[in-house]
Amino acid sequence: MSRVTALVIRLLIAGAFVSVAWLNGALVGDVVAAGVTTKFVIKDMHGRELSLPEAPRRIVSLVPSVTELIYALGGEDRLVGRTDFCDYPPAVREKRSVGGMLAPSLETIVALKADLVVATRDGNTEETFAQLGRLRIPTFVAGADRVADVYDLIGRVGRLAGREAAVAPLVARLEQRIAAVRTAVAPYRVPRVLYVLWPDPLIVPGHGVLVSELIAIAGGDSVTAHDADAYPRYSVEAAVARSPEVIVLASHGANIGNVARDKWDRLTSLPAIRAGRVYALDGNLMHRYGPRMVDGLERLARAIHPEAFR
């Protein structure tokens, strides 16, 4: 067989692939049409403006915190999809799952005819954002680093779910409980608190995250809140050097409380260990910026100031 024939074969094979791509392009050129009318406008938590033809009726939530908020506001009839990690309230299991947070099934999202997806940059991947953008499905980016943000978010989710009326009462309830905690712990000395997000490597809350603010409200002085932003990795030495009087271990689903305890119990120089003040708390209560944030806050306050709640 001459070189020419070989070249032809090679070109055919290569061509087959190129034509697949071209065909693909030709077919999907304008499958998803862009919306024209914009009767519903809202800004997400990153300040991006979303314009929808009308209020969303089929919301898919990729953020467990927001799923909880939707239920707390009574807007679950507009929720059509959630992730496997959305586990509260129990009724959420009736809603169709679209998979995990890292790689949700785009097919399922499309099949659910979602007109809005709620996502977060801390937990969902860039690929998901890109694909949702390609499919022209409006995406609301959620997030909250402070308690004030949480109230803001509740307001916006209330608008999305068409439950504006339920926003004020919910916010009032939360504010009330938070105020109660503040009052209860006010008379007492503020102890040094080490909050362990993850024991190994040691990951702690730093400056400007919700957990740090909650610790402050609960009457504690987080030893790691002043150093770095977000969630830095700390060396155990540095943590020990701060001499925390209370240690809070966050559990995440799987029970790691005991294992972590052993490690900390050995550090007998710490006032927290000597006084036996090591507590395990449910991470889902502390880290989600949903309505149960105040449950987490209350438990945290009880751990830091047991004397205030006798």
Partner: protein
Amino acid sequence: MSVVSRAGTVSADVTPATTASPVRRLLVVLGVLAVLLLAVAAAALFLGSAGIAPGAVLRVLGGRAEADSVERVVTLSLRLPRIAAAALAGGALAVAGAAFQGLTRNPLAEPAVLGVSAGAAFGVVTAQIFGLGVTLVDALGLTACAFAGALVAAGAVYLIASVGHGLSVPTLLLAGVIVGVFFSSAITVVISIVDINRLGGVIHWLLGNLAPIPPAPLLLFAALTALGFWLVVGQARELNLLALGEEAARQLGVDAERLKRRIFVGAALLTATVVAFAGPIGFVGLVVPHVLRGFLGQDNRLLVPTSLIGGAIFLLVADTVARNVVAPAELSVGVITSFCGAPFFIYILRTRTRPAP
């Protein structure tokens, strides 16, 4: 010639000498594989977590579904591009594997072994962490970073292995391993300082990230794959001769330096392209050429074209499984290729390798 010595008895399994036309053999095998690929692709179009009825899919393919309908969007915007991406990635990886194996004269060589995957992965991970991840990512931006990383790694390997006037193959292997280790460690460093909330996404990408690629990048992907394939297949015959040793190949008239350069560039290009568009996916470049070798023999002229289609089939099957086995959740395709590929590979090794006489 009048001198003929009688051969002694041979213990190997000898079938009659093949004088059949190799062209026909190649075309037949390619035809069979192409049919198989189309069948697998068609099946993959019908499978997915959206639960679309086969009839609906057929309507879409026939052009009779309405625009914006669920089945049309899912089939044409999600499944078809992903199938194309998986086929391209699988084919590219398999050809790169065959090329590296021929170049290094080692059947265990894999695209990942030459450090190019790790370099590309480092490029992408770094880009994801520092900046490019903040705004809505342009697919091309991440791709460019992957290429930059791959180029740096490939360049480093090439320079380290270039001794005197040419490319030293043993040094190439070592250099590849070392460069790969370096970039893997670099990735680990980046991971250890990344914001914990992004960690999941980064690690997820590192396991392979086949996604429905939009048409323009897909075309670029296909074009680069075609180029890499052309570079390798054009020297397939010479690659056979290289197995005799460089000096022997040169004595047969092969320009060994040009051959090594071209094959290295082609294979590195294919690897970099796949990592840029689909993340680091292992194992395909090792398994597919090896399995095909068991059926077709050592000839790279058969192996390279069939690896293109064989690799496409392999990764397409793996990706379809990854998409559907725990629906609606999705597994990374790299998990399937390694996890399921390994036992399969062991089986092949045991049944097709006879102990040395």
